[in-house]
Symmetry: D2
Subunit: 360 residues, 4 copies
Amino acid sequence: MSSGPSAADLSDSAFPSRESRARNNADSVRVGVIGYGYWGPNIVRNFRALDRCEVISVCDRNAKALKRAQKTYPALHLTTDFTEVLASPDIDAVAIVTPVWTHFELAKKALENGKHVFVEKPFTSTSAQATQLIELACKKNLRIMVDHTFLFSGAVRKIRELVDNGTLGPLYYFDSTRVNLGLFQHDVSVVWDLAPHDLSIMDYIVRERPEAVVATGGNHFNDLADMAFITVYFPSNITAHINVNWLSPVKVRTTLIGGRDKMLVWNDIEPDEKIKVYDKGVEITNGQSVYDLLVSYRSGDVWGPKVDATEALTLELGYFVDCILEGKAPSNDGAAGLRVVRLLEAAEESLKDRGRIIVL
Amino acid sequence: MSSGPSAADLSDSAFPSRESRARNNADSVRVGVIGYGYWGPNIVRNFRALDRCEVISVCDRNAKALKRAQKTYPALHLTTDFTEVLASPDIDAVAIVTPVWTHFELAKKALENGKHVFVEKPFTSTSAQATQLIELACKKNLRIMVDHTFLFSGAVRKIRELVDNGTLGPLYYFDSTRVNLGLFQHDVSVVWDLAPHDLSIMDYIVRERPEAVVATGGNHFNDLADMAFITVYFPSNITAHINVNWLSPVKVRTTLIGGRDKMLVWNDIEPDEKIKVYDKGVEITNGQSVYDLLVSYRSGDVWGPKVDATEALTLELGYFVDCILEGKAPSNDGAAGLRVVRLLEAAEESLKDRGRIIVL
Amino acid sequence: MSSGPSAADLSDSAFPSRESRARNNADSVRVGVIGYGYWGPNIVRNFRALDRCEVISVCDRNAKALKRAQKTYPALHLTTDFTEVLASPDIDAVAIVTPVWTHFELAKKALENGKHVFVEKPFTSTSAQATQLIELACKKNLRIMVDHTFLFSGAVRKIRELVDNGTLGPLYYFDSTRVNLGLFQHDVSVVWDLAPHDLSIMDYIVRERPEAVVATGGNHFNDLADMAFITVYFPSNITAHINVNWLSPVKVRTTLIGGRDKMLVWNDIEPDEKIKVYDKGVEITNGQSVYDLLVSYRSGDVWGPKVDATEALTLELGYFVDCILEGKAPSNDGAAGLRVVRLLEAAEESLKDRGRIIVL
Amino acid sequence: MSSGPSAADLSDSAFPSRESRARNNADSVRVGVIGYGYWGPNIVRNFRALDRCEVISVCDRNAKALKRAQKTYPALHLTTDFTEVLASPDIDAVAIVTPVWTHFELAKKALENGKHVFVEKPFTSTSAQATQLIELACKKNLRIMVDHTFLFSGAVRKIRELVDNGTLGPLYYFDSTRVNLGLFQHDVSVVWDLAPHDLSIMDYIVRERPEAVVATGGNHFNDLADMAFITVYFPSNITAHINVNWLSPVKVRTTLIGGRDKMLVWNDIEPDEKIKVYDKGVEITNGQSVYDLLVSYRSGDVWGPKVDATEALTLELGYFVDCILEGKAPSNDGAAGLRVVRLLEAAEESLKDRGRIIVL
């Protein structure tokens, strides 16, 4: 593994560690996974299916979780002590699949120990933490990847392609709804739980630095919002809106994206036809007075491009391994994670002040 | 028609007009309709189908509109001069189906001339105008009905029933989406065009005085918002949210209403099963620490109550005629119209200031 | 009306009738409508909206029906005596919108009196009747149009276009489902009530002479089938299947059409995206043994062509008027009506004998 | 395992086999699985998750399939020789998950060797084979279970409950559509591939001995039907219809069931609301003449009962293990398998003769 030694070279230790010597020509990544709750099993399953990757160890403080892991993978090394994973010389990269408030400490230790880091979304609890981790990884020449899984879904990749190749034309808006019943989180609001998906997708599609955030919402059980409506303003006049709700009786995963030339609906619930591109539009010509607006509408065919059905996490983890082995920076790196955290902080702040605008 | 003479009594004319004398025992309402554009024909068709009602005259300044009216109703009296309608002694009530900026002047004249008034939504351009009309109608003992048509739809009546009889339990939120392509209005934003529907329904269902409004959105063609996201705060912690958009490629008319005991989805696009009531819910018990939340979910049957399919406008106009003939105040009276106009003013003000909270 | 005189020329009467003399240069068609039940009002409304057409008289034996007609069209001539319509010298064409068992007598009289005839589907009760009417119309040079309304819908015209221009490739099958609750007919089974739609569309799309029919089904209330499943065999190996049912709790109007190159779904319930064309297919290459089949699947984009939303009946009746004025034979003429009646007869016969194959 | 010894007692061998002695008090079932293609992995995964069950060996002639098995279950015994599984003294039950033409030979050997048998649907290629296996199992007191998985789905169990408790009232019809693109089978038509699902469900719900079958359809690539329409007649006048098609661009899994008191739609594609029960119905009273039918319609609420989401195969295999350990006959036993095979034979025969009725 080429990046192992280079990380060691850049570290404060002048001497390469034992394992980096031993694995000078390594062409695979040895992974430790911390956290085997809801999402961890998917991480382990996908890492194991990769060719150039080996899962060395799985850690969870919950004995039941470890028992489940053992039943599925009898041969796997299991531990309740995360320091074991963070310190192991046999591990090149650590996947952190734990509650957000633990991300910073775990990732920091992992980076300090020369491990590449894969962190579940959202990256960290604060943007200050995110910045610190980014700097640390940079100094030690290690990779950080933030698990913005949706960016690797066939649907989002297709949307990005349609935006990039100009099919939609300049964008007017991005409006995403992500609602369902539960699961209530103990430590974070619905903003920190669900909105990272939409914000990371928005960041990936809109590709513009947002200038302000307004968020409203409500909390009906404790002091954490269980529903929130986030508006993000962009300099180019793109309007983004995100509706997240833990109290919806139905599951909705719909994103409308309006462009000058085409409009798009992404319905992630649909098993087959997730994306529809509408040849619809409006043209308004200003006449002589305010009542002389000439409005013309265009309404043509609908097109449902085929969307790659490969599991997003498979692609993402494969990309993580590639980035490590080839020493390249992932697109969903710490900086991408930081951009999302900043929006989350702003949204939470705005929400607490009943929609006060937060200029970024 | 009892209210005819009383209107005359209260008017500045001390002498009852010829027709009010003649119609002392009138049991039907003679209507004049001003405006025969998009909505006017529905008004005329429905008034004509009523038993205790007669359409006397239709007015529109647009010759093409009048031609269409003549083709459908060869015997109808048509005019391009609205003063003719407003002054006619043969007309008891005037339906004003014109752009909102004309409502006040027309309604004022109509009331001054002793006519009952049916006004398309939104009631007026300003709350000051609305107040003035309400006072005038009160003074002259005339009826004002604001055309909040949806309140007479089977779906909204059923929802109100389910809220009133306690089926849903105390409400948590009201979240409504009303988006489609166009029709752009020349004089008002999407807020004034589409949101009156949702705000009047919210007002009818939630039945609580809202305390503040936050609205965000965007305008992409001129300085009128073509998409808007309105949050309404209520003292009892009900959160209302309204998403209106003229730039959507698909038509969506969906309202989610979350209650403690049941949750409801109203999809007005569905031809048959418009309302679904979900036996779903969340219960959160606070444990000893923040991490001790005990959350339990309930997910049971779904129920689709039969919804009366009678055309809403038929019921509404029948009710208008009843209110006139029986001298009773309609529930969708001027005061209801004013409540909506106040919310529209607040939303527009908030929107222009990028989401500044407007306390009502 | 050019065809008036020519009809007269070809008739056994050597003397042009009074009205044909009077209207030598007529450029509009004067229509009488017999039957003002469920469908008649649509016929009247659409005829009236046409430019080169005038509705002279409406006939129904039911006083209530006539009262409804009078309310909508106070100026229209109404009668309960159909001979009045059939004999009137002021009428050029008769629309017969009555139960099927009356079609033959009415159409025959109309043709004998020199009137063009528009007949609701199904054309006649027997193919012998249909043949007789076709011959009569031919002899008198009059037009017969059978009301296969769906052929004029945007969806069916688009499908025909996609078949004709080779988009779908050679067809494999046509599978249509038309089910809903009721309306039970008194005199005919669900086969004669609903299947004419599907059979006429099939005839229009497949454009091949069917060779045999098998029909099964059931009757649960009287001796008329309330559900039926009709298979039509074609020489070129196209398989057609039609599922009609009066006892379904949901309304389904879906037609699948499989072609070698593309497959199509027409969902007539959808308000906007009625047709979807799938770039899907199968290729099977025979290997050396039966177990060496090489099957490859193709699954690409979906395409929803824009479908003209003009009311089908408007186009159809306009076409009827055109055919009369321009002396041309309609595509949905008596022969088309006869082809459908033959299939209905075969289906009914097969159904009664529990699926015995009827070779045509 | 109690049934092991009893099987031995009933066998022609007077001496209990070694393993039956050894496992006199066995309370778990040791399973061998033959076939690890498309469905086999689900069988293995589910057997492994059961408490009282152990997967001893997996067999497949395809090396690639075994490699996949090894990757997932490194510790599992794998073999390409099915006789090894059929003969192993360490195996109590054999799951046969292979092409239908191999079922008879494999099941026969397994039963002869004293193994209980779980066979994928359809049970056998002929009813004669099915009868022979049933008799053999009976003689040796062994269990046969035919993998009619759907009978264990929450949806089908709920439907059965609604029929059994009289909610639907007497049934009028059962109409099932199961279409999608592929997968073409090499050795059997779409009838033998897809219809076993619908026929086994029909058998489970209708619970009446069918009296005749008519099947039509088409084949477009080789001499095996790729689409088929099967009608099953029942003495009580219930009409069953099944539409199976390998050439559909869209996946449809919809069953309509009409009863006198309620009507039901089961849409298995829906993730959440699979079943809807409609309070709809028709009542027809015969008047004095054929035209005096008095028809009344009932259209009330819709109800979506909650459906258990447990994986059907989990329940089915658990039930298989229970039946073995407790010595009870499964409801989906050889006789149930035989009933379905008889219908498949009849359908195939009818289909080949273009819909000739096959009386059972």
